[in-house]
Symmetry: C2
């Protein structure tokens, strides 16, 4: 694996946690975030990006919810990697989520490491990062914090909440927790609860981080040396689950990397190996290991029905929100069956719902890729919802 | 994770590498093993177990080939774990591979750590374990060593070669390398080449081992401290791939371990987590980390067609061996499509082949489990083959 300096790399990411390249909403100490773990987080900070213009009656706002390793940099250059925003194909002028028409908000989730309060944030009480003193975060906590941000903008009802994977979990939680505040919802490649197999993969990733002696029980801020090796292994394992057997076969097969024959060694003989190592080593440059632990755990704990006496239909009972649920044929992390369970519950709850399963071999990651059918689905659904919401005249607001 | 003492644990396994609880065949220095990596291994040792009695014309021998983390202890108590042999359901008196009728041989593969030469074996030239000085091992090397063992028994033709997973790869290699020496072959839950996704999972496991500072570039014999944490993570990741989403859901679902509600911590709240941690911590008590690297690499390199100008059919051209190919519906590591590719090649090569896809939700591990349909398939196929081979009268040899 490419040698990463655990000191410089981790610390660059950590600077972003306290001093993000984003606007930050800092809540006063008397407005803490009430958390599911029973604690409350004082001095909550939310780092966010916005795109487009909020219209006069505050009715054209779309909240984008990011996935496990995503962030608020949806449609601008990423401050740490210098790469385009993670959803520039979906969000921007003339894109399906059209920033010429809509006011788009995306905030870093609670527990994240790009400026919103998380384990890498300096704890004002100690002057050191929270580390494992950060209370455990749930999807509902993330959504509660987002609601505080939406309040700040004076928005009573979001026109739409959209997101994939862990972002989709937040979409479902928004619709369940604040049905009257969500006009339309687009949960993509997600589930109303994390499966046993998915918990298992997350546990492997966490154990890989915790097995790294640099992790030091989460207190690596004492040494300034980050558990980059463990986190890279976690990322590699997770990355496989984001792809599909077919896509890997098509893209890499058994092709050798810069050689004609095997070296009979532990070098990265195969292209898939060097690709994976690259995924591991670039990830640690932009992500905090403790954040990775917290956010995987939040997904593990997610079980929306559990909050409604085990009935997912009850979570959406009598909802007026319009839903567009999307899944991908080759996604084995959040398979179509998981989306279908959501659709069944929505139907049982009497909701307006359209459901599309998109044929692709690109696996779970498809929601981040250039997928015309996903764009067409999103555009079409938003168009219909905008008409229903009376947003025709909102086009290109002055 | 349960705390493992990397000193005592690893060293118990290492004692087995040099002083196994098995008969050992030690080859003289002038009969080295020629290896695909271009080197030859002098002082080859093969540790093996046998069950039953070889008949007068040496025609009733069945070679069992073990999987990645298996060993020669097919049907006897394991010397390190004290548990029953790994295939006692399949092999024994009155079992499908009936030791009252057949002479069953199983040897630890080259590169293994239960007594056959591998990285944990003491290198006679240095007095220390080979470690990474061990030449890279291929499936063909394993089979070549097994052929030397079979020669030792004076057996010209094996009645049958049987194995699952990496064992199935050896079965296919036997049939291709020594068609006249294999009367019947039973490759189970295997493939003629390792897929890109499977290489990816192996690479994650290897990186987990190598990320453990105790691994020390493979020279952990200098400290006597074994990379147990890294190896446990590797095992956990691999273990998920041996199961299936359905089986995990049925067996564990989202059930909590010894508690009614989440603890909001990184403890093993979910049963699946404590199960996985247990799999990791018990594995390191019986397996050498370098061996794990070598054997996963051997599987990665396996591509039988590549040795026959890319044509798998050519590998089996005009073979007289009878084949019984078996796969499992829920096996996503070696899916039925991989077995079907073998069957197509056998058909194209004009072989006698029967193929059964067994309906089960138990995933890849099904070949090790109590699966009546697999036993019935094996019994029936062996019965027919025994008749064809004229082994009727071999029943209960005196």
């Amino acid at each position: 694996m490419t040698e990463i300096d655990p000191l410089t790399v981790g610390n660059a990411a950590w600077r972003e946690a306290d001093n993000p390249h984003s606007p930050v909403l800092q809540f006063p100490i008397d407005r803490p975030l009430a958390m599911d773990a029973g604690l409350s987080l004082a001095s909550l900070r939310i780092a966010y990006q916005t795109y487009g213009t909020l219209n006069a009656d505050n009715s054209n706002a779309i909240l984008v919810c990011h996935a496990l390793t995503g962030d608020q940099h949806v449609a601008n250059v990423h401050p740490l990697t210098g790469k385009p925003g993670w959803w520039e194909t979906m969000v921007g002028p003339g894109r399906p989520v059209d920033t010429d028409r809509y006011f788009v908000i995306c905030s870093n989730v609670v527990g994240g490491c790009l400026g919103t309060t998380g384990p890498a944030t300096t704890n004002p009480e100690t002057g050191k990062p929270y580390g494992l003193d950060m209370p455990m975060v749930t999807i509902r906590d993330m959504v509660r914090a987002q609601a505080m941000l939406v309040d700040h903008f004076g928005i009573d009802q979001l026109f739409c909440v959209i997101g994939g994977s862990m972002g989709g979990m937040q979409v479902l939680q928004w619709a369940a927790s604040y049905p009257e505040r969500v006009f339309a919802a687009i949960p993509i490649a997600t589930a109303a609860r994390h499966s046993s197999q998915n918990i298992a993969f997350h546990e492997v990733g966490r154990q890989a981080v915790m097995a790294d002696p640099e992790w030091a029980g989460g207190r690596y801020f004492d040494s300034g040396r980050h558990p980059t090796k463990g986190l890279a292994v976690a990322r590699m394992a997770a990355h496989i689950t984001y792809l599909s057997d077919e896509a890997l076969h098509r893209k890499f097969g058994r092709k050798f990397q810069n050689r004609a024959a095997p070296t009979f060694s532990f070098d990265a003989d195969f292209q898939i190996e060097s690709y994976l190592r690259h995924q591991g080593s670039t990830f640690v440059e932009r992500f905090d290991a403790n954040s990775y632990l917290y956010l995987t755990r939040a997904m593990d704990y997610f079980d929306l029905a559990a909050d409604y006496e085990g009935s997912l239909a009850r979570a959406f009972h009598n909802t007026k929100t319009r839903f567009c649920v999307a899944s991908f044929t080759s996604d084995w992390l959040f398979p179509t069956s998981a989306s279908r369970a959501v659709v069944h519950a929505l139907n049982a709850g009497g909701a307006s719902v359209s459901f599309v399963e998109i044929e692709t071999d690109k696996g779970h990651d498809a929601f981040l890729l250039d997928l015309p059918e996903l764009f067409a689905t999103t555009s079409g659904f938003l168009e219909g919802a905008a008409r229903a919401r009376g947003l025709h005249e909102a086009r290109r607001p002055e």
